[in-house]
């Protein structure tokens, strides 16, 4: 596991997209604006067909080369893209002649690859990226698209190498998603839909909102919200509370602002991307929260981890074992989401806490809720007091546990202690 205290807090967000090895290009730069204008002109101006696809590929590759340079990362990217497309075609053409277990192993191998690339120190004895770290911006999102493409290949219409390459490295989503699905992308990419008339004003409005959320609000306040400036030990308890409780809102402004920009840019090009947020602060439980926050990530984990594993469990095990094993699957999926952000002890504890809460919720629904009387159940289901209380408690829970993102467990507990006036 990596040490805490690194810039890991915002991993996966555009703020960390530019590492020391690659130049960062903010989405509010002239350079990005020029690329966007070129892309919109290409997609809107050229007739649907091979030339337009090739021109879009050229724009995507230009953007990619700004972040990925050098023989090793480019070769790794090429191998990943070709292997994904090739395996997808193999799956479609061979059908049931290749046992389903083989594809399960391929998907599992991609998950392992993802973790080994992201953290070269993980399992360093057997990790090939320990000796040769692979710095490839957006690798998580590339691997997620590969997992989706291979897993669903037989259901995907309009498969072609050029469409797949444009899907995998589509420049608005290349750095940090949303993790679009191939079939949605392919419709806009291959059909005449991008030529449909657009209403630019709402789109520009959304992009402007995104710029304000990310570059005016979040970028100026995140350091304070994450207790890095000023540091936590210099803050009085009331300011600690304010700082800790504002982090979730600031992270939302940062990431949803970024999403507004890239979804808006894609919309100008005629691509309707999936939404990544759905009013997360209205979530009444941890389970509800993860269906509203970073939706494209959680839906990937749901569709390619939770669903196949729980389907296997429910189909093959007796009723007695189904519930405990399904809870274990819930817990595993939550740990995967947590550790995908970063393989630190802080994220491990974050995953433990959220996984435990998720399992606790399942246990309550199964054993606790049915035993409540009719009156308490109706109060529980319909009272606005319970609903808003649940929202407040869920917000507080997520905010407290997010402390573990940046600090190790010991430091986080110390900060939480100081918040309630307890000095260890």
């Amino acid at each position: 596991m990596k040490q805490e205290g690194s810039p890991a807090v915002f991993d996966g967000l555009p703020a960390s997209a530019g590492s020391a090895a690659v130049p960062a290009m903010p989405l509010n730069s002239w350079h990005f604006l020029v690329i966007c204008v070129a892309a919109v002109l290409v997609v809107r101006g050229l007739p649907v067909g091979l030339v337009r696809k090739a021109a879009l590929a050229a724009v995507n590759l230009y953007f990619l080369f700004l972040f990925v340079w050098g023989l090793y990362p480019l070769a790794a990217l090429l191998v990943l893209l070709l292997a994904t497309y090739g395996l997808g075609e193999l799956k479609v053409r061979c059908g049931d002649r290749i046992p389903g277990g083989v594809w399960t192993l391929v998907i599992a191998a991609l998950w392992v690859l993802l973790f080994l690339v992201k953290d070269p120190n993980l399992a360093s004895g057997v990790n090939p990226f320990s000796a040769h770290p692979l710095r490839l911006v957006g690798i998580s999102y590339l691997v997620f698209r590969s997992i989706h493409y291979i897993a669903d290949a037989e259901c995907l219409e309009g498969r072609s190498l050029l469409t797949f390459v444009n899907y995998a490295i589509f420049f608005p989503t290349f750095l940090a998603g949303p993790i679009e699905r191939y079939e949605r992308f392919q419709v806009f990419h291959d059909s005449g839909d991008p030529q449909a008339p657009m209403e630019p004003l709402p789109i520009f409005h959304r992009i402007a909102n995104g710029l304000v959320k990310k570059y005016v609000l979040a970028d100026n306040l995140l350091a304070w919200g994450s207790l890095s400036h000023p540091p936590a030990d210099q803050l009085a308890p009331p300011m600690l509370w304010l700082s800790v409780m504002s982090l979730l809102v600031l992270l939302y402004l940062d990431f949803s602002g970024y999403c507004d920009i890239v979804i808006g840019v894609a919309a100008l090009m005629g691509f309707r991307l999936m939404e990544n947020f759905n009013r997360p602060f209205l979530a009444t439980s941890v389970q509800d929260f993860w269906t509203r926050w970073h939706i494209s990530l959680t839906s990937i984990v749901r569709d390619y981890v939770f669903t196949p594993l729980s389907h296997f469990v429910v189909y093959h095990f007796s009723r007695r074992w189904q519930f405990p094993l399904a809870c274990a699957v819930y817990f595993f999926a939550m740990m995967l989401i947590a550790l995908w952000h970063n393989t630190t002890w802080g994220f491990f504890v974050f995953g433990l806490l959220h996984g435990a809460m998720l399992v606790g919720l399942q246990v309550f629904r199964r054993y606790g809720y049915p035993r409540l009387g009719r009156g308490p159940r109706e109060f529980f289901d319909r009272s606005p007091l319970v609903a808003w209380g649940s929202r407040a408690m869920n917000y507080a829970f997520v905010s407290f546990t997010m402390l573990f993102w940046q600090y190790g467990p010991a430091e986080s507990v110390s900060i939480l202690g100081r918040m309630v006036g307890w000095q260890p």
Partner: protein, 79 residues
């Protein structure tokens, strides 16, 4: 026929003998329809109709109409 059989499966899974299903209904319309209930429903449907769905097909189910289409893909005589 398919409507009645599927409705019976829904009533069993969601333990609601008054539940009436429609093609455009989705998880948002049935309170207990969460991720785990979805899997329980799929497995009950598979066992009742004698089909085995692929994961990619399960992931694409958006509403009850989609589920009906999937069932008739494996059991065309029910269409």
């Amino acid at each position: 026929m398919l409507q009645d059989d599927l409705q019976a499966v829904f009533r069993k899974v969601f333990e609601d003998s008054a539940l009436v299903i429609a093609d455009d209904m989705s998880a948002a319309d049935i309170e207990k329809w969460d991720s785990l209930a979805h899997i329980n429903l799929v497995v009950e449907v598979e066992k009742f109709f004698g089909a085995r769905f692929k994961n990619a097909e399960i992931a694409r189910l958006q509403c009850i109409g989609d589920l009906k289409k999937l069932i008739t893909k494996y059991r065309p005589e029910l269409a």
